[in-house]
Structures are given as structure tokens and as C-alpha cells.
Amino acid sequence: MNAPSTLSTYNCFHCGLPAGTGSTYKKQLGGAVRDFCCLGCQSVCTAIFEAGLHSYYQRTPEGTLLAPPPTPPQDIDSYDLDEVQQEFITRSGELRDIHLLVEGIHCPACIWLIERMLQREPGVQSANVNLAAKRIHLRWNNNLNKLSNLIRALARIGYSAVPYDQENAEGAIKKSNRSMLFRLFFAGFAMMNVLWISIALYSGADKGEFRDFFHWMGFVLATPTLLYAGYPFYRGAIGGLRIGRLTMDLPIAIGLSVTYAYSTYTTVTASKIGEVYFDTVTDLIFVILIGRYLEGMFRQQALSANKRLLELQPRVATVIRDGVEQITATRAVKPGDHVLIKPGHKVPVDGIVLEGHSAVDESMLSGESAPVCKSAGAKVTSGTVNTSGALLVEVSSTLQNTTLAKIIRLVEDAQASKAPIQRLADTIVPWFVLVTLVCATLTFIIWYHNSFETALMAATAVLIITCPCALGLATPMSVAVASGLGARHGILIRNGLVLETLSRVTHFVFDKTGTLTEGKMSVAVVHVAPGKDVQEILRCAAAVERYSEHGAARAIITEAEARQLNFSGIVVKEFNATAGLGVRAEVNEKSVLLGSLEWLTRNEIKPDSELQAQALELEAQAMSCVHCALGGVHVAVFAMADRLRGDALQLVNELRAAGIGMTLLSGDRKVVAEAIARQLGGMEVLAEVLPQDKDQAIQRLQQRGEVAAMVGDGVNDAPALIRADVGIALGSGTDVSVESADIVLMHNELDKVRLATLLSRRTLLTIKQNIGLSFLYNVIMVPLAMMAKVDPLVAAITMPISSLVVIGNAARIRNLFNKVKP
């Protein structure tokens, strides 16, 4: 096991990570002194030994490295509130059922440990660990024990558990996909059996004594397949007819019905010349269901975006009533209440700060990663994260009236009103269906003069031959292959249908912060007073800024590191920060001040006029300036700017060369947005826009007849991402923007937009080729069928071949990036 291995270094007894020489964490446990890498491992291990479950360490498979325990979840107490639990438990009353999502499960021994430990807790009826999904199914008696106690007990032995809403997470889409899978299984089972019978019939049994028997067996197998596995096609066809549209399902349903009816007619009348096509019925259902199932897996989970948004709002808030802190469910908080937001917690409501200073991380709203300073009078928005100090907030709106909820409504509106994507195949199918039906009718009329039997056979053959199989597979197969290829190159295609749309895009809309720019401050320019040493000033500034939480501080440190300055040895004394102004500290007996110009004047330092002029000039270019004073003298100005992403310029140039229009959308100030647009060679700029304006900007483009793509990353981009014909989110963005987008760029490389466009063009080409191929097949076979020249054997061979050709052609997409530099 994880025993000390070498003489000089020890490994942590719990997690196996190196504990270093003479580690500080030692404890006498189980008759020996054990070393630990951290206090977390030590306390977890102590708890395990105290519970007498130490054989856990022997059960852990050899070579498995346990990880140090994850940090336990916050707000555990809130899960005891009935209102909060309501959302998770599957039965209420005394006995309750809940699913917990657990972090820290890594090996089978964990199952043993967790189940043993939980069963010793009072009130626990059963605890079942699901190793693959890392979940616990817990049943406990709420009168005997509280849920928070159980979660704490898990935290003590190193597992972080949070309640998990199974309905929400898995939802209806998964259920419908599962029922589709059952249908697929059944069709597969029937198909295999029917094929054996067909082989027997084709190899001569249709002449002998078993002819009727085989026909009846086919009938027995095909009937339930048609009714059960084929049901989605009938539902789709009838649903389409009801709203007056000829859908892909219609020719499939007609083809299936006619084939089945004709075969049944042959079987029942025991006709000696007719053939049965039960194999065609089951094959068709099976093959098309495969396509449908693949498509279903890519279908956008529209609902989940809204749910994720709601989860951004914390469930509980700390309300101050008559000077007493009270933990209350967020839905019970009323406007006018005073709410305390501790550092590290999420803001539960919209409100106005009454007391306190803090930096609030609003990146989920704006995409801006630098925290925003808030002090009395500032507005805070629910869902943002309070990073540094405690804030007392007067509630202005809760739940459905918060900014976050308004964005949710925008997302819902955009989803509801967005026109469905018109697929290429969809535009062709109605005509295809019409032509097929006309051909079949014509065939019947022409041959009716000959004999009824021949007419019926020929007309049926036309319907069967025009099997929409290849046409039905043309799109899903191409999209499936393209999606797989995209995923391997960091382009996650969430909605495969947009692959067709992306190549037609005429206008790209970019979010500024976090999309075109890196979304974090960096030092762009350093100006120093004459005769001063830049390096020395930067070293002092970086040393002081190590203690600051401000976004600008990090930028200065990064700059100093980039210049390879060593400032780790500098001793900083008497550091103190004033929110919104700046910081001061002592280095080598000299005072160091960093902050705004006002900060310097407040500390009675005379600003250097030349530096002041330079700062003004920089501020006109939309940079924010940090002034630095050493030993009471104004010595430097650091200009901060949000730097462009490395590949932004290249992408913009390429799009411009391709004649595609571009717009920059930003919630930021106009000067800043225009400065960025200038750096990118100029484009239309819409600055100071709210989330709903972003949505409307896209709508206006669409009304002009443009096909718009939106590239963004923040929650405020979500409505626009949905509204746009193609929504592209950056993987670093919030969950919500990722959920709202059609395409996600995993590694935040803007250049991938170009690759995605290439992929899209290639996919569309392949879809067109596939549709062409299936038409070619029909052009050859239909006239033959109309002349009543199609042998059933020929039909049986050519039909799967047409599908195989389509599948093979789609597979060729995989070679796309071999030629292109990935």
C-alpha cells in the first residue's frame, strides 16, 4: 500500500502523494506513525481509523492513488430546509429518498467505505453507491437524522456530496432516446430473423411446401415490428399532415404500409405468383431508426440551458432580521430585506449595497474576468460571486424579477420564436414524395389494362424502390461523421443541423470581452518618470501587488514575471488596501503607493505633470491607468488594457477577405469597443448594449435577410446565441452560454471558427452528393420498376447498396483535415 517507500521522502499514507521530508503532518494511527501530505488527508484518515474502517486501505487496489479529499460543499445546512429538499427527494414524509452526486469516489474500496460508514449512521435505511456515475442513492428517516449530518459524515471521510436532481439532469430527452433504443433493439431482432426466412425463400423455398409457412412467419415477425418499432414514423407522418407539411416520415410510412399491405395480401390469399417483402419492412425500419437514433443524440437539449441558469441563483440567503442572521430559502426573501453576502458566496438576489467593500466576480454575466469593485450604493446582481469582503445588501428584486431571470426569459423567448432550421433534405422531400406518388399512380393506371395483379405489383415496386432510405440517411450520416471529426479537433457540435447553416453565414457578430479579447487585464504600456529604472519600479510594484486581490494587481505581477524580474525575496510591510482607490505598503523602508491619481493626491503626493499628460492620452485610448509612487514621488504609470486574443486578427482578416460582414457587440464603453474594432481593422460597433439589445441586434440582421452567426461566451450572450442562425460559444464561457450555443470551441481558439466553417462546407457538399446519389439510384430504378421489370432479388440487392454508398460517402468527410493544417 501507500507505505513509506524510500529513506528520505515519505508518501502520504492516505493519498500516496509525496509528503516531503520530515513532514509536518504526522499522527499515531493503528499502531504506527503515519505521514500525511496535508491536514485534509490527516483528518480524513483519522476519521476512518476512528470508525474502525481502516481495512479500507487494504482494500484499495494496488497502485491506485487516492486523491487528497475534495473541499466539502458549502451551505450544507440549507439542504435541511424542506423547501430546498423538495426539489431533490423522490418521496417525502419520514422516509426520504435522495440521490447525491459525490466527488472523490475513485475505486471499489470507496463503495465499501461509504456504504459501511453510512449504514452506521442513525436513521439510514439504505445507501447504494453507483461507482460508474459517482452517485449515492440514500434512503433515510428524517426524524432520526438530518441530511446535513449525513453529508458532513461523508465530508469527514473525504467525500464531497451534493443533492442531485435526477429528473432535471436526465430528463425527457434521455427517456425518449431510451424508448427509441428499445424500438431499435426490437427492429434489429426482427430483422435478423426475417432475413433468415428471406434467405430461405430466395434460395428456393418459395417454390416448395414451406412457402406459406415462411410467409406466415414473416408476417408474424413484421407485424409487431411495424406497429411498435415503426410507430414513430406514423406519428411523424400524421403530425406533419395535420399541420399541412409533407415530411420525410410520409414516404417512409407510405412505403412501409404499402409494402406490408401487399405482402400481407400475398400471404393471406396464398397467391402463387406474388412475393412477400416483410424483410424490406423490417430492414427499412431498422436502418432508418439507426439514423434517427444518431440524430436524437445530437438534438439540442433546449430545456437544460434554462435549468442551468436557474441553478446559478443560490437556494438560500442569509437575511438579517432585527440584527440576527437567519438562513432563509431564497424564495422567502422579500424586496426591502437586508441580506448578508459573505466572501466566497454567490449573490442570491438583486440589490443595492448598504455596507461593505468587495470585489464581485461578474464574469458569468459579462464575460469580464476581472472582479468589479462594489461599495455602498453599487448594484449587485444575483448569480455573481462575492470574492473578497462581506457585503450587506438591500434586496431590490428576487427570483423571477432579477436580471438573471430576465435573461432566462429572453432565452426562452428566443427559443420559442426562432424559426426551425430548414434542412436541405426537408426542402426536397415534399417534391420527392409527390413525384413518387404520381409515378406509382401512373404505373398502376398504365398496367391496369393489362391485369389488376400486375398493376398492383408494379405500383408497389415503384413505392418500394423509391425507398427513401438513402435520402433519409443522407443528412444524419454526414452530420454524425462531421461531428465526430469536429470533436477530435476541439469543435464540439451540439446541434448537428447548423453544419448546413454555417456555410451560408453572411454576417458574424462577435462579443468583445472574453471572445475577441482575453477578458482579463494586462499591462499594455509602462511610462516612467525621466531617470527612473523601469525594472526596479516594476519589482517593487509586483512585490506589493502580490497581496492585492484586484485584477490590475494580477496584471502587474504577470508583466513582472514576463520580464523575468525576481521579486519573491522583497519583504513587504504594512500592506493595506482601500477599495476603489489603491494600495500602500512599505518596501525597504520606502513607501510604495499604487492606485488612481486621486489615491496619490490623497496621500499628499504631487503628481508628475508629464506622467499625468501621458496617462490622459492613454485613457483616451480606452486604457485604464494605475499610478505608482515610490518614497513619496510619482514615478510611473501602468496602462492596463484587455488584450486581443492572438488569433482574433487572423480570423477577422480571413472573414473580411471572404466578404463576410462583421459586427462587434459589447456591453462595455463605446471608446473601449471602438479601440478594439480599430485594432482589428475596423468593423461595425454596437457598444453599451444590454442582453436584450444583443438579441435584437441579431434579429435586425436577420430581418435584413442576413444569415447571422454569433460568437460569445457570457450569460448575457445566451439570448443572442440562441437567436442567431448559428451560435458559437467559447469553451471557457459559462455553462449557460455553452448550453445555448450550437457549436462550442473547446480550447478557446478563435481560429477554430475557420475550421468549423470548412467542416460545414464539406458537410453540406457531402449531403448534396448523398442526395444526388440517392436520386441517381431512383432515376435508374424507378423507370425499370414502372416497366414492371424489377425482379424482387434485384430490388433486395440494390436497396441496401444505395444506403451503403451514402454511408461510405459520408465517411469520406473524415479525410478533410488531413489536407488542412489543423
Binding site: 474502525g52 481495512s55 487494504q58 482494500r59 471499489p108 474500496a109 463503495i111 465499501w112 453507491v129 453507483n130 461507482l131 460508474a132 456515475a133 431510451r178 428499445f182 433493439f185 426490437f186 431482432f189 430473423n193 426466412i197 414451406f210 409457412f213 412467419m217 408474424v220 415477425l221
Partner: protein
């Protein structure tokens, strides 16, 4: 050859039974955790194991 009159329906019927069993198993959640139970059966209940 008349044996196929019973063999083929028999085969189909058996296939059907397997299909029903499979659906039942999936719905029971037997495929949700493929690793957990496989390992659970190997964990014996000795308090102190041989090292």
C-alpha cells in the same frame, strides 16, 4: 423437414423472451453501474484483512 414448423416459431419465441428480459434489465437499472457490483461481490466482510 417438418421439424421446422416447430423450430422456427420456437426460435422466434425464445428470441422474444430474451428481448423482454433485456428491457426488464435495462429498466431495473442493471446497466447503470457496470463496475460497482462487479467489485462489490469481491469485497469480503473481514474486519482485518491479511496484508
Amino acid at each position: 423437414m417438418s421439424v421446422i414448423y416447430t423450430l422456427i416459431p420456437g426460435m422466434t419465441f425464445m428470441g422474444l423472451i430474451f428481448f423482454v428480459i433485456m428491457i426488464w434489465a435495462v429498466k431495473q437499472g442493471q446497466y447503470e453501474d457496470m463496475e460497482g457490483n462487479a467489485n462489490r461481490i469481491l469485497q469480503d466482510e473481514d474486519e482485518d484483512m491479511m496484508p
